[in-house]
């Protein structure tokens, strides 16, 4: 017995020492938590008052109570964020008797943090929302506050300026749950590629899968460079979808697609199609030719980084993203000439993004929804506010162009190499008419592309199919796992025996319950198509 106590003692003491060492490292975090709690509580008290004041005089918003709001944006703050927010708060307290504590999720693990913010019921007055951040699912589950009654009173300018269609896309079960950004975009996937190499080796103009293959082959043979040097899954998977004309339903990661835009009700799980079989066989040969490396699934590097160093040739981007990448390269590597091939050319079809692709929403737990809407209304419509929160401080982050409409970065008198710039995830409150920079980073080729997209544009009928997968969530979870384990290596042509791998993949999908998921998606899609009045 004595030995036992003694042993326990040694173990405990040494662990305790270790624990205290580690605790010392972590104490910084605790402090920040405390401060955020402390700031949340006074605003809770204030909310009761604002509410009662408002029922009495519904039309004139009462701002006599000082309120501190908590906002969350996705992504990282800018280096001089504190200065910008301080300036913003100065303006806000003068105009609306309000200050805002602006928080950022950062990009690391943003999905988990975002989910937790909403699930834990933390007091948040406004948060970025988006169809790609599960807006429809959260709205359907009741995570956001319905805004129909509040908008006309507290955000009148926004209420009247946002189009009917945009509001419709932010509506779930007849209630508006978000204020969409007013910034129509086309974001088809596509490939950025080294056009100078294409010309140097006399390779064909890129216009379909065969010419892409010829290009990749030419680069590999003549230059000895791995064309897609880094993570290559997005390049290959989006090309597969687009070249087949498949329209994915219910998120970017599933296996359920409509076989074409014209037959939206022909919904299948793509791994079971003969087209998929043919495609992965082709990918096997591509992989063997060395178009990407065999460790591509574990690689963390973006293929675009390799282009910068002359070690790669192809990079997957959506159209505005490609513009930003190309203009960036024109500055940093003027000797490299890039081209862009949007996958929309496979079938001459583009769909505009939904208005809620970027939006701001108010969580159910918000103590000061009314004031939050007033701030957003100001932010979207007052150029002073808009410029500050979109482009930062004039003089240090940008300076006005001679025409007084656009901005110049870096500002006059600042060296390009010392310039950090201001950029936060301000997409949620973006308004096209207020913008002072051109889409796609001002890329010269973008206007022509935009014309092309507009001329072949069709309404986005698929993004409105709302699903929370509640009845089939265990099957869906299992399917997700199977896609990664069997689908991704197959798509990248890494498996030794393609036929066997296809059979295994299909068998595993079926075991995971893919047919239940398919049936559920078909039902939901048909319901949505009926509501949209489609055949």
């Amino acid at each position: 017995m004595k030995t036992k106590i003694k042993t326990m003692g040694t173990v405990l003491v040494s662990t305790a020492i270790m624990a205290s060492m580690l605790a010392a490292c972590g104490s910084g975090n605790n402090n920040s938590n405390n401060s955020s709690n402390a700031s949340a509580s006074p605003s809770t008290e204030a909310s009761g008052n604002t509410n009662s004041g408002n029922t009495a005089e519904a039309k004139t918003p009462d701002t006599s109570k000082k309120v501190e709001l908590t906002w969350y944006l996705l992504g990282d703050p800018a280096p001089d964020q504190q200065k910008v927010v301080a300036e913003w708060n100065k303006m806000l307290s003068a105009d609306l008797n309000t200050t805002v504590k602006l928080n950022f999720t950062t990009w690391t693990d943003w999905q988990t943090k975002y989910n937790l913010l909403l699930a834990s019921g933390e007091k948040v007055d406004m948060i970025f929302a988006s169809s790609w951040a599960d807006f429809y699912k959260f709205a359907n589950q009741g995570a956001f506050m319905p805004l129909n009654d509040l908008l006309p009173t507290y955000a009148p300018t926004t209420w009247s300026s946002v189009s009917e269609q945009d509001w419709k896309e932010a509506t779930v079960n007849d209630k508006i749950y978000a204020i969409p950004a007013t910034y129509p975009e086309y974001t088809p996937d596509g490939l950025v590629y080294r056009d100078d190499w294409r010309q140097e080796f006399g390779l064909p103009e890129i216009k379909d899968v065969d010419s892409i293959e010829a290009y990749l082959d030419g680069v590999k043979k003549n230059k000895g460079v791995t064309p897609i040097n880094g993570k290559a899954y997005n390049e290959v998977f989006t090309m597969f979808k687009a070249s087949q004309g498949y329209q994915q339903i219910g998120g970017d990661s599933g296996v359920i697609v409509a076989k074409s835009y014209d037959t939206p009700r022909d919904i299948v799980a793509y791994p079971f199609t003969p087209e998929f079989e043919a495609w992965v066989k082709k990918m096997k040969t591509w992989s063997e030719k060395g178009f990407w490396k065999s460790d591509t699934l574990s690689d963390q590097k973006e293929a675009g980084d390799a282009i910068k160093t002359g070690q790669g040739a192809v990079y997957w981007r959506n159209a505005p993203g490609a513009g930003g990448f190309i203009t960036g390269m024109e500055k940093s590597n003027p000797d490299i000439k890039l081209g862009y091939f949007p996958f929309s050319r496979f079938h001459n079809l583009t769909m505009p993004t939904l208005s809620v692709n970027n939006a701001m929403a108010i969580p159910k737990s918000a103590p000061n929804a009314e004031r939050s809407l007033m701030v957003l209304d100001k932010l979207r419509n007052d150029p002073k506010y808009y410029d500050l929160m979109s482009y930062g401080l004039e003089g240090t982050d940008y300076s006005m162009d001679a025409d007084g409409k656009h901005i110049v970065t870096p500002p006059a008198g600042v060296e390009a190499k010392d310039f950090k710039g201001y950029g936060i995830a301000s997409w949620g409150y973006r308004v096209e008419s207020m913008e002072r920079v051109k889409q796609a980073g001002g890329w010269s080729g973008f206007d022509a592309l935009l014309e092309e997209f507009k001329s072949q544009s069709k309404p986005n009928i698929f993004a409105q199919v709302i699903m929370d997968y509640a009845p089939v969530k265990s099957q869906q979870a299992a399917v997700n796992s199977v896609i990664q384990q069997y689908g991704m290596p197959l798509m990248m042509g890494l498996v030794p025996d393609v036929d066997k791998a296809i059979a295994t993949y299909r068998k595993q999908l079926e075991a995971a319950g893919v047919n239940d998921v398919l049936k559920y998606v078909q039902e939901q899609a048909n319901k949505s198509f009926d509501a949209q009045g489609l055949k």
Partner: protein, 303 residues
């Protein structure tokens, strides 16, 4: 009842001293246990934390549905057994070597160097691993320059078991060594001196004095780690293997499977269900092993 109050009054200082620890466990270990309830509900933002609808065992279905649970449990348990045994044996050995080393300066610096990997984050370990084993990594570059055939590590499952175990052991070695070293220091010098006078050499002393006296610590540490045998080292596996489905057959553990399944569609209920399965399994295991140890050698048992 009267006895309890008397006890409280008599030892009030002692009870006061233990109060913070009790409070800590109540707040951070017992109160959160209420969350187990989520495993049986469909979470809804409308109802708040406890407003979800009760749905019984539905949240567990995704674990059992596809028939992968057995393979996952097997992988997790086998990895952890390898981790526990190899780590503890090596830590014990290192501690004995260190304690028998004469030079103080050399001993201290060795100990510090061994401890350093403990502070390296798994994200960095993942980067090390990729740069060692990728196509253009250190090992393949070496093979090429020696005129040998390249080896595609990321297409074969075989080497990864060893790589993962190696990095786990490497990372925890210094930490465990310190614990064993502390236990060795508490062995009275008198035993060793008496043995020396009787003519025992260093091996005999280690074999017959140090090792037997360390057995209780060894058993205790193993018992403590057994409780977590179904909890995989998520960061280790995730950072080293990542999204590479080619390697999952031999490297998929419960934690990575759950992450992969739920990352796309966040669900509190199903996440809790998986956690509950792991904890319950660990609980049963530790009770069982403790029971066996108590039968065999009563003094070594945990409770």
């Amino acid at each position: 009842m009267k006895g309890l109050f008397q006890e409280l009054a008599r030892n009030r200082i002692l009870f006061l001293m233990i109060a913070p620890a009790l409070l800590f466990f109540i707040v951070f270990a017992y109160v959160p246990m209420v969350g187990v309830y989520y495993a049986f509900t469909r979470f809804s933002f409308d109802g708040g934390l406890f407003g979800g609808e009760f749905i019984g065992f539905k949240n567990f279905e995704f674990l059992f549905n596809s028939g992968v649970l057995w393979n996952l449990t097997k992988n997790t348990v086998l990895y952890n057994i390898a981790f526990i045994i190899i780590s503890n044996v090596l830590q014990l050995a290192c501690a004995i070597f260190l304690s028998e080393l004469p030079g103080k300066w050399f001993k201290k610096s060795t100990q510090s160097i061994m401890f350093l990997p403990f502070f390296v984050s798994f994200v960095l370990v993942g980067a090390f691993v990729f740069n060692l084993f990728s196509n253009a990594g250190v090992i393949n570059t070496m093979l090429t320059s020696l005129g040998l055939q390249n080896y595609d590590f990321y297409l074969h499952t075989a080497p990864w078991k060893y790589i993962i175990v190696f990095f786990h052991v490497w990372k925890g070695l210094g930490y465990g060594t310190v614990i064993y070293l502390a236990a060795i220091m508490s062995i009275s010098d008198e035993y060793h001196e008496a043995a020396k006078i009787d003519g025992a050499n260093i091996f005999k002393r280690v074999r017959h004095i140090t090792l037997p006296l360390l057995v209780p610590t060894f058993v205790l540490l193993i018992l403590l780690s057994l409780g977590g045998i179904l909890k995989g080292q998520f960061d280790l596996f995730y950072q080293i293997i990542g999204n590479n489905g080619m390697l999952y057959n031999s490297t998929d553990i419960i934690d990575t499977y759950v992450y992969r399944s739920l990352a796309v569609n966040f669900d509190i209920g199903m996440g809790t269900a998986a956690g509950l399965y792991q904890s319950l399994f660990g609980f049963v295991l530790i009770i069982l092993v403790n029971y066996i140890i108590r039968k065999v050698q009563k003094d070594y048992a945990l409770f």
